[in-house]
Each structure stands twice: as structure tokens, then as C-alpha cells.
């Protein structure tokens, strides 16, 4: 039943099993008096790569557990395509799951681990060898069939877990922070590999992470969770450019939130300065300006037209390898920071600590969000 979907994709690899849409409707999960997931509704398109991003304890694993069938929602429902699967046990859902700690079977070899789903699904025995080899080739572990799990490195284990989750052509793959145990370099190469696999498999992937860069790198859309609620679901670009709340603005990218007052339909006042935004201001009296460090430009000798200007004094300059982080105390106000490329021209534009500096920000990058109502 797992591979019942179309298997005809022209650019689909031998493992592609088609994909399926997922829809979560008003899912709530309570543990006693505590609500771990609060009325979450989310639609995932077939073939989409969606990341669940949020701070620790925000309900990411709980939501994934509801999709995987390990956790039954206290209320609400889960649908795969047209089918309501809210109460379908995990082994009948036909999904591939990669657990945070891989959950490989230590008493089985690599090949036996990867063959586990085929055996469990009573797939014809004659096909196991070929399909295991294909899956292992896909994660670049061909030839590792007979290794014991204990003889693998962390990255190799991760890839075996992946091969095991894709070998039976699931239409939906769930991953819970699969790369969190890897070092930075391996993590980045696995991210690229996962993107490639996603295209090849044509499966829907729901991916949990608390690393925003990872989410930005891989996802079609990102769902940001906070305290069991969905804060925003959007493409990486839109999350960056149009955060719906101060929480999202501070969570995505690296930004300083500064209180401002409304001074016009599309402009705000910060001390003596007036800043124009390219988008209409949100409702509400209390507004915050989200200044993303990389969107601020240190003004050189000439100031181009159309930019908002912020003047202040340099309080600190931190050298961070590929960039400099410059702290700037605004005239009559808060301290903000901006990021300057560490090339020669970039460094020359920054005056020494204590000197005045004008920072520019384009109205397109001037993001105003409503302040949190406490």
C-alpha cells in the first residue's frame, strides 16, 4: 500500500514512489494540564519540503509524533491525501521516519537495517538485495552492506537511517533533527545531499530542526512554532522580508528590535530620524523596527538617494572572520548592530570606535512588526 502512488516521474529515480499531501486540522495535544500543541492547522503540498522550526520545547517533536502516529492528538485530525489517518497506527501509515538519534537496530548489519522495512512489508524477497543496494548507493554507502552499525561513523549512521527510511518508497518522510549530531562541515554537505535526494525521491518531506540556517537552506516553506502554536508558515524569503510578529523577526536572521512610533501611513519615527517602509505599517499602537544586521549599510562618503538614515556612534567592532560586526549607539537611543563584509573596502568604511557613523537601510528592508501584547 505504501508505494501505491504513481511511479512514473520522468526525473524520478528508481526509488521515487510519488508523494502525498498532508493536512493537519486543529491538532491539539495536552499532557495533563500542559498543552504541548495548541490548535495547529497546517497543509503540506505533495512533494513539498517543509521545515518545522522553533525553540526547544515548542512542540516540534510532538507535531512530528502526531504525523508519525506515535502520539494521538487530544483533538483535531490528520489527513494523508484524502484519508483520515488520525487513529491509524504507525506501521500502517507507510511513512519513512528518520529519528533524531537514528534509531538503527544495533543487532543487525547495515544491509539488514535497510532491508527491515521490506521484510516488515512482506515485499518479495528476491527484490531486497537490489533495492537495498539502490538505497545505499543513493546515500553513497555502496559496499557497506555487511558492516555492523557500531563500526560506522556518525555521518554514516545518519545516512543508513536515511537509506532505511527511503528504501520502501514512502510518499512522506519525517525527519527529527537528523543532522543535529553531526559536525558543521558534514552537516552542510548532508544538507545539500538531502536537497538532492528530495528532488530525486519526489516525496513530501517534513523536517524538524532548530537551526534556522538549515531550515532556510533546504525548505520550500518553514513553519515556525512557538509554545505549541504556529507563529508563521511561509517561504524562507517571505519570513525574512515580512515577519508577521516580533518573535518571528527576532527568530529569523540576526536582528535588533527597536521600539518606534508611527509617524505616517508608511513611516515611523526613531528619535529624530524618520524611516520609510515600502510596505504599509501593521495595525496597533506599539511598533517595533526589526533591523537585520546584514541589511544595514555603513554609509561611505556619498549617501545614495532613497535610503533611510540612522546616525550614531561606533561602540565596538568585532572581527568575525568573513565579516565584521559593528555595534552602533544611535543618537538619543538604543544600540543596534550591523554586519560589514570583511573585505578591504568594507573595513575602510568603518570608522574607529567612538567615531560617528551613518547607517543606511532601504525602505524595502525596513521591517516594522507589531510589538508583542504582553
Amino acid at each position: 500500500m505504501a508505494a501505491a502512488g504513481s511511479n512514473s516521474g520522468v526525473n524520478g529515480g528508481p526509488l521515487s514512489g510519488g508523494s502525498i499531501g498532508v493536512s493537519i486540522r486543529n491538532a491539539t495535544r495536552r499532557y495533563g494540564a500542559f498543552t504541548a500543541l495548541d490548535d495547529v492547522s497546517l497543509d503540506v503540498a505533495p512533494g513539498e519540503f517543509l521545515s518545522l522550526l522553533g525553540p526547544s520545547g515548542s512542540g516540534k517533536t510532538t507535531l512530528l509524533g502526531i504525523l508519525g502516529g506515535f502520539t494521538v492528538p487530544s483533538s483535531g485530525s490528520v489527513h494523508f491525501g484524502e484519508a483520515d489517518v488520525t487513529f491509524v497506527p504507525p506501521h500502517k501509515r507507510g511513512i519513512g521516519v528518520v529519528f533524531q538519534n537514528y534509531a538503527l537496530f544495533p543487532h543487525l548489519s547495515v544491509a539488514e537495517n535497510v532491508a527491515f522495512p521490506l521484510r516488515a512489508r512482506r515485499e518479495p524477497k528476491g527484490t531486497w538485495g537490489r533495492r537495498v543496494a539502490e538505497a545505499l548507493a543513493m546515500v553513497e554507502l555502496a559496499g557497506y552492506e555487511d558492516r555492523a552499525i557500531s563500526q560506522l561513523s556518525g555521518g554514516q549512521r545518519q545516512r543508513v537511517a536515511l537509506a532505511r527510511a527511503i528504501v520502501f518508497r514512502p510518499r512522506l518522510i519525517l525527519m527529527d533533527e537528523p543532522l543535529s549530531a553531526l559536525d558543521k562541515q558534514l552537516r552542510e554537505s548532508m544538507q545539500i545531499e538531502l536537497r538532492r535526494l528530495h528532488r530525486q525521491l519526489e516525496a513530501t518531506i517534513i523536517y524538524v530542526t532548530h537551526d534556522q540556517r538549515e531550515a532556510l537552506t533546504m525548505s520550500d516553506r518553514i513553519a515556525i512554532l512557538r509554545g505549541g502554536r504556529l507563529a508563521q508558515v511561509d517561504t524562507p524569503e517571505r519570513l525574512h522580508d515580512r515577519p508577521a510578529s516580533a518573535f518571528v523577526a527576532s527568530f529569523i536572521g540576526e536582528s535588533t528590535l527597536v521600539p518606534v512610533t508611527r509617524s505616517g501611513p508608511d513611516s515611523v519615527a526613531l528619535g529624530a530620524a524618520t524611516l520609510r517602509s515600502a510596505r504599509p505599517l501593521p495595525e496597533g499602537a506599539a511598533l517595533l523596527l526589526a533591523l537585520q544586521t546584514e541589511k544595514l549599510i555603513a554609509a561611505g562618503d556619498s549617501v545614495p538617494d532613497g535610503y533611510n538614515r540612522l546616525t550614531g556612534r561606533v561602540t565596538d567592532i568585532v572581527y568575525q572572520g568573513e565579516s565584521l560586526k559593528v555595534f552602533l549607539a544611535l543618537d538619543g537611543g538604543p544600540e543596534i548592530s550591523l554586519r560589514q563584509p570583511a573585505h578591504h573596502a568594507g573595513r575602510r568604511a568603518i570608522p574607529p570606535t567612538g567615531a560617528p557613523l551613518t547607517a543606511l537601510i532601504h525602505p524595502q528592508d525596513t521591517i516594522i512588526v507589531p510589538a508583542e501584547s504582553a
Binding site: 502516529g69 506515535f70 506501521h91 519513512g96 521516519v97 521484510r119 512489508r121
Partner: protein, 289 residues
Amino acid sequence: MTHPGTDLRRHERREALLVLALLFPALAVVTVLLVVPLAWLAVQSVTADGAFSLEHYRRFLAEDIYWRSFLLTFRIALIVTVLALGLGYPVAYAAATLPRRWSVVVLGLVILPFWTSVLVRAYAWMVLLQRRGLVNAALQGLGLTDQPIALINNEFGTVLATLHILVPFMVLPLYATMQRIPRDLLLAGASLGGGPAHVFFRVFLPLSMPGVVAGTVLVFVLALGFYITPELLGGGRTFMVSMLVSRNVEIYNQWGAASAIGVVLLLCVAALFWLASRVVPVERIMGAR
């Protein structure tokens, strides 16, 4: 000024001495309580009338009561072990998989009997199983039998009472192993399409094997040397090796013969242990991991 290298070496030597000092009490106890008596046992077993002799061992070949007693002992120990595994596995499984609150209750019930003495429990079984005991009275009262059934003074009584005492020794190592099996593995098995039975047989059971071996060896070895329970419930008719030893000492005052039996039994156990340790490392059998 001393060279840093010498400093380090002196430090290491001091540490080694410290470890030795810490180990000393345990080593002393083991030596006095185990090594010395065993050596004495071995010496006695090859001594007759103050001189070296293999007479006590020759008896194993000559008198068939020795043979039959060993066979009986191994058979009873085997039956008890198999039954203990059959009864203990589900209990340990329940204790390892139930929510914490309930697993505490199950384990408590398993451990509770440890608080009563083996002797008391043997007499309790005698009260229950004797000709006019509770069980026979109930069976007759229900009209299931006309005459009392022989429930003690035979193998049945011996096995039952021994089993009762040894089941916890099966459950505890099983539980220790099962409880370490990561729950994620079971969830992973299910998510990959394995039904409950498939996940049990392909994942849970193989991963619980160290506990099975540990519990089996423990119960089997303990059953081999059981004395009071078979003595009381076997009624002298189930003549186990331990009783052979005690008769030799108490009635015939034959310390040499008794020692020889002990040595043979010890060697049998050692051989078994060696076999088991080839399947599972010794540390695991002992429950360390």
C-alpha cells in the same frame, strides 16, 4: 628540582598503590571466604585416610546413585529454568514496557518474596500441598478428584517450590536488559511497517537475549545447588546432588566424598558458564552491562 617525567611516574605509582589499598578488603574477604575453602575442598576430595587418593572420584563410576542423582539434579534444574523463563519473560516485559507507575508495582511484587526466608516459603508450600492441605481439600471439595493427589514428596513439589524461589532471579536480569532497549527502536520498527509481532520478534526479542542468557545461567546454577527446598518438598525421594553431599557429611562423616561431589558439581557449573560466556560476555551475565 625533579624532572616532570619522574614526577608523573611517581604519581602513577602512588595511584596504583591507592587502588591496591582500596581493593585490599574485598580481596581479603574473597580469599578467606572463597579461595581458601575451595582449595581446602579440592585437597579433601583427593585425600583418604590422610594420604593422596582418587578413591572418592572412583565412586562416581562405581555407584550409580551418584550418576542418577546428577542426572536428576540437572533435569530438575533444566525444568525449573525453562519454566522460570516462560513465566519470567512476560513479567519482565510488562515491567519494562508499562508506564513507570505500574512497572514499580510489578517489580515490587517480584521482589516482595525476598523478604521471607526460603525455609518459611518451603513450609508454606508444604502446608498448601500436603495430603490434607488446602489444594487437595479444594480439589476434593470441587469434586475434581476423589482422593488426595500427591503434590509433595516428589519431583512436582520440588520443581514448584524451587521455581517459586528462583523466578525473581530470572525476572531481574531480564528487566535490566529490557529496560535498556531504547523505545525509539520500537517506534522506528513500527514506523518502518513492522506490526507489533514483527517488531517484537525482530527487534525486542534479539535485543533482550543478553538478559535471557544471564537469567537462564543464574537460575540454572542456583537450581543445581538448591538444598533446603528439595529436601523438604522432595521428601527424600527426589535425591538431588546437594542432598548427596549432606548425607555423606551428616550420616557417614565422609568429608572426602562430599568434597569430591562438590568439586564435580563446581566443574560442571564452570563448564556451563564458559559455554554461556562464549555467547554473551561474562560482564553481561553478571548484569553489569
